[in-house]
């Protein structure tokens, strides 16, 4: 199937951004991710779907080593971003997370001003040489987060004073401020109303110009709307991975079909 959205950018998006081989994740004795192999393309939105507990968030969290923070969690296999093994001993997880940004389910702005929310990352990573530099980064990030016009007159007001949808876009702006290569989103719209959701989805589509976006969502409709590639997880297995339009019109695996059509599978 030809997804016109993919064809349009075919020239620049044939690159593989993330490649995972034989990834296994254990929480203690629980085998949470089984033998996952996947290649995620650059400048593409990839959606992870599947029922609760299927491992989609766990796998997402492997991509920026967020699972390192959980003591009983063990990850094996190989995950490369741009050919570089992110589980290599020499990789600093903090640097990695600057390169692989993350947005969470609930908007979690720092209890600081809007300006400082954005400036925090670039400051600690030393991305700005001067105040003017930092101002530029803040403006550019807020524009990329599609929230600049709404906050430009109150940059020093607290970020927590914004509406839920605005807070989430602020968090996305914060995530892109460190110029990441990959943006991970774990159900970024589940706490938002439909209008705010549409704004965030529109934003995701714009972010695709510059980033590889991976989004975990419980909303099949959202996966269908925003992604070009979809991966369906079930019981820790990656059951099917393909073009979104194909997954939603003619999935190959009966388990995928059961799930996306709302049947007991």
């Amino acid at each position: 199937m030809n997804d016109m959205r993919i064809v349009k950018r075919d020239v620049e998006m044939n690159d593989i951004k993330i490649s995972a081989k034989d990834v296994q994740v254990y929480y203690g004795d629980t085998h949470a991710i089984k033998d996952v192999n996947v290649e995620i393309k650059d400048k593409t939105v990839t959606a992870f779907i599947g029922p609760s507990g299927c491992g989609k968030s766990t796998f997402l969290r492997c991509l920026n080593r967020m699972n390192d923070t959980i003591d009983i969690c063990r990850v094996s296999g190989e995950i490369k971003i741009e050919g570089e093994d992110i589980y290599d001993k020499r990789v600093d997880p903090v640097q990695l997370r600057a390169k692989v940004g993350m947005v969470f389910q609930k908007p979690n702005p720092f209890p600081k001003s809007i300006y400082d929310n954005i400036a925090y990352g670039p400051r600690i990573h030393g991305l700005a040489r001067s105040k003017a530099d930092l101002d530029d980064i803040v403006e550019k990030s807020l524009r990329r987060g599609a929230i600049w016009d709404e906050v430009k007159d109150r940059l020093h007001a607290p970020g927590t004073g914004l509406s839920g949808g605005q807070q989430q876009r602020l968090c996305i702006a914060r995530a892109v401020a460190t110029e990441p290569e990959v943006l991970l989103m774990d159900e970024p719209c589940s706490a938002l109303d439909p209008i705010a959701t549409a704004q965030v989805e529109e934003l995701i589509d714009e972010l695709r110009e510059n980033f590889s976006v991976v989004i975990v969502t419980h909303s099949m409709q959202q996966a269908a709307r925003v992604s070009q590639k979809t991966a369906f997880f079930h019981l820790g297995n990656l059951v099917e991975y393909g073009e979104t339009a194909q997954i939603f019109t003619n999935p190959e695996d009966p388990r995928t079909e059961s799930y996306i059509t709302g049947r007991i599978g």
Partner: protein, 240 residues
Amino acid sequence: MNNDKHIATAFDRDLEAIQALIMKMGGMVEANITAAAQALEDRDVETAAKVRAADKAIDALEEQINEEAARVIALRSPAAGDLRTVLTVMKISGNLERCGDYAKNLAKRTGVLAELAPIDGAGASIRRMARAVEEMLKLALDAYIQRDADLAEQVRQRDLDVDQMYNALFREFLTYMMEDPRNISACMHLHFIAKNIERMGDHATSIAEQVIYLVTGELPDESRPKGDMTSHTDLGLEPS
């Protein structure tokens, strides 16, 4: 395709309801084709009038099916096999509606033909051709409800027979017209009827192709056998 029940049972009911409407519509169209062809052979103007009246109900059903399909799309966002079910329902209802129109046209022409001198054997030939098409429609709808792509493929192949019947009639009518210009009026009407029945065969084929799409997710790609040669036919006969 996956035929397990949905978690939302109302979704199953909606899908079953629109498919039941398609089967009902199919039954009405089949009955109308048979009745129209029989009326033509029997020069039975009364039955022909009934066929024309019955077409209104077929048109109304098509409208109802499209409304129901639109409602399912709006309310349930069907995906995968469910989506293909709704899409094919809409296309098939369109195909059936066209077949109904052709049957109605056949009935209309029956009124004129009953006033004209009969053409030997034409009524029976038309009825046989209509019978073949009605059979194709029936099998195509059976294939649809049974999700049987093999049966649908057989229906596609059958269209060749209908095309050949049409070729034969086309030549026959031309010959009658050459023989006696007084046959022209009747033969022109009969030819339109034969052509319309041939088109019904194409619609039945299209339904069969929708069944293949519904079951496999892909339309059959190789071009189906085509037997209608009349576009290239010149009998080489000049009126004496």
